[in-house]
């Protein structure tokens, strides 16, 4: 127990904030993983004679405009939203770290070139970048993931670059170089591992934003194709019925808030435990 307590995540878990949010997160993740067993109905069973029904015993959160069970769609929606966000951010972090490391390590013209391209994406709000890339690639699961990962690329690239620049001059790096370490070795064995932490935590926080971005894309009607549920698309179709059937947008809204909240809170608790708040200021 002492070993776990001693590590940063462990310390984070021990606070009220950390523990509660982690628990919430686990719940959401479990719901997403075990959706077929947890959800009372399949997400695409239509029942056109029972549309827009208020919450009842048969349907805990009511039904939508096709008579589908809202609760089941929210649970399945967790799968879409979480997997899209995590995959997109994962790819984004990886690509961002490579770009940022290359820029910081080699410096000079390469640095300027990479920074110029990265700053270009930085110039536009994420919504716009995502909209444009979905327009180019066509709608669908994969284009949404790609669009989101490109939108957040700049963030991780800049962060990694700043981290590595800070430690590039350290003595142990000099030592490694003089001992004959090749470029790849230095980057992967020394530089990246030591700058990993802030980037990983920033990635966690960005996942929350990515869930919201996916919801916004869904609101504009782009992204995941029906009948697969996504929280954003559910809210978008729900706005048309805001008076008839308010539960169709309250449910997914609360789900998003819960998911993003717990991610952000756990991330914050982790930052406090790791005491790396100053390192994250670059973004």
């Amino acid at each position: 127990m002492g070993r776990i307590r001693g590590s940063a995540p462990g310390r984070a878990l021990c606070t009220w904030r950390g523990g509660l949010s982690a628990g919430c997160l686990m719940l959401v993740a479990l719901a997403a993983l075990l959706a077929p067993w947890v959800a009372p109905y399949a997400y695409d069973i239509q029942n056109l004679s029972a549309t827009n029904q208020a919450p009842s015993l048969a349907h805990w959160l009511g039904t939508d405009e096709f008579g589908r069970d809202v609760l089941s769609r929210i649970i399945y929606g967790a799968r879409t939203s979480l997997s899209v966000a995590m995959a997109a951010i994962g790819v984004s972090v990886l690509m961002g770290m490579c770009l940022g490391a290359a820029a910081a390590y080699f410096g000079g013209a390469l640095d300027r070139a990479i920074s110029a391209v990265v700053d270009l994406t930085w110039s536009f709000p994420e919504v716009l970048i995502a909209l444009i890339f979905v327009a180019i690639l066509g709608p669908g699961l994969y284009s949404t993931m790609i669009a989101i990962s490109i939108a957040y690329l700049a963030q991780f690239s800049r962060l990694t670059r700043a981290q590595i620049l800070a430690i590039k001059g350290e003595t142990y790096i000099e030592a490694a170089t003089s001992l004959g370490g090749g470029h790849l070795h230095i980057v992967f064995r020394h530089l990246l591992p030591n700058s990993l932490t802030p980037v990983i935590v920033a990635g966690m926080l960005a996942t929350g934003d990515a869930i919201i971005l996916e919801a916004t894309l869904g609101f504009f009607g782009l992204g995941i194709q029906p009948p697969k549920p996504s929280w954003g698309a559910m809210m978008s179709s729900g706005t048309a019925q805001i008076f008839l059937a308010p539960w169709t947008i309250i449910g997914p809204g609360v789900a998003i808030a819960l998911a993003v909240l717990s991610i952000n809170q756990f991330g914050d608790a982790l930052i406090d435990a790791l005491d790396i708040r100053s390192k994250l200021r670059e973004t």
Partner: protein
């Protein structure tokens, strides 16, 4: 300092060129074209061909880019194909609305954000702190379009304090500014609070305590000033986004603005308009970043030294 400014401004030129290439390529990669939006039921293929030729859309991409670039350098952003007006006019009509909305939202989030963040730090762990933290949470986790719709429902429909949409009066700005502003408040507040707590841990503060100054006085007169530097850093990064950050909100509130113009022209594949808007946005961000860097330099002598 002056040299630095000149150097930065000169650097904008190649970046501008690069941005123009990217912007042009990107919009042409999107399937569909403006002619599809203009041809109506009954038109013949010959008519479509006439239209395509009239707007030069049958030329190779490089030629089209060249023409656009040449006109642009002469100050002419071209004429919108579907919307049939000079792009400059369209942007001139819409930009002030976005600036007003974005600018006010920026001001709102700065003032309210710094206030609430400072309060939270000064009265750390009290009910004030906790309510501010909750506000921060809500502001950063609710999707903006949802927040906008809820605000419309509550303040415009139920209470009828403000108009539902449009931009015909100053009151129409309140709800959209609030929607965008709340996100900004969350961010600024969080950073201010963190910065003040950070500064509060430093040695000179301990010394001021030892001298006998009151907690409130120390926080307001000394800590706040130092804490404003990291806050200004964050804010300076966001100045460039004043114009572009309102895209979704302009849609929900049916307001004119660069965001609405961009979405409409993107949907219609009106190439000159999309290119012009994206270019404007990029310029706004670059100039905003430059402005931010200058503000930082003005506030922090250490940075001024570095630049020399």
């Amino acid at each position: 300092m002056f040299v630095y400014l000149i150097r930065r401004l000169l650097l904008l030129l190649p970046v501008f060129l690069a941005v123009s290439v990217v912007v042009f390529m990107i919009i042409h990669l999107v399937p569909g074209d403006p002619i599809d939006n203009m041809v109506q039921i009954g038109a013949s293929p010959q008519q479509r061909a006439i239209l395509v030729a009239r707007y030069g859309l049958d030329q190779p991409l490089l030629v089209q880019y060249g023409v656009w670039l040449r006109n642009m350098l002469g100050g002419d952003l071209g004429d919108a194909i579907v919307m049939r007006q000079p792009v400059i006019d369209l942007i001139a009509e819409n930009l002030p609305h976005s600036l007003r909305l974005g600018g006010l939202a920026f001001l709102f989030s700065t003032i309210v954000g710094i206030t609430t963040g400072a309060l939270a730090a000064i009265y750390k762990d009290s009910w004030i702190d906790r309510s501010v933290m909750t506000l921060i949470l809500l502001g950063s986790t609710l999707p903006s379009f949802w927040l906008g719709l809820l605000l419309i429902l509550l303040f415009a429909v139920q209470l009828e304090w403000f108009p539902v949409s449009g931009a015909r009066s100053w009151t129409a700005l309140v709800l959209p500014v609030l929607t965008i502003g709340l996100h900004g408040v969350a961010l600024v507040s969080r950073v201010t609070r963190a910065a003040m707590l950070d500064v509060g841990r430093r040695d000179f503060v301990l010394m001021l305590h030892a001298k006998g100054l009151s907690h409130r006085r120390i926080q307001l007169q000394h800590v706040l000033r130092h804490a404003l530097l990291p806050v200004a850093t964050i804010l300076s990064l966001r100045i460039g986004w004043i114009v572009g950050g309102a895209v979704t909100i302009e849609f929900v509130f049916a307001r004119p603005g660069l965001g609405s113009l961009l979405i409409t022209s993107l949907a219609q594949r009106d190439y000159p308009v999309v290119q012009g808007c994206l270019l404007m946005l990029a310029m706004a961000v670059m100039l905003g970043t430059l402005l931010g860097d200058l503000v930082q330099a003005a506030m922090d002598p250490r940075i001024r030294e570095q630049l020399r």
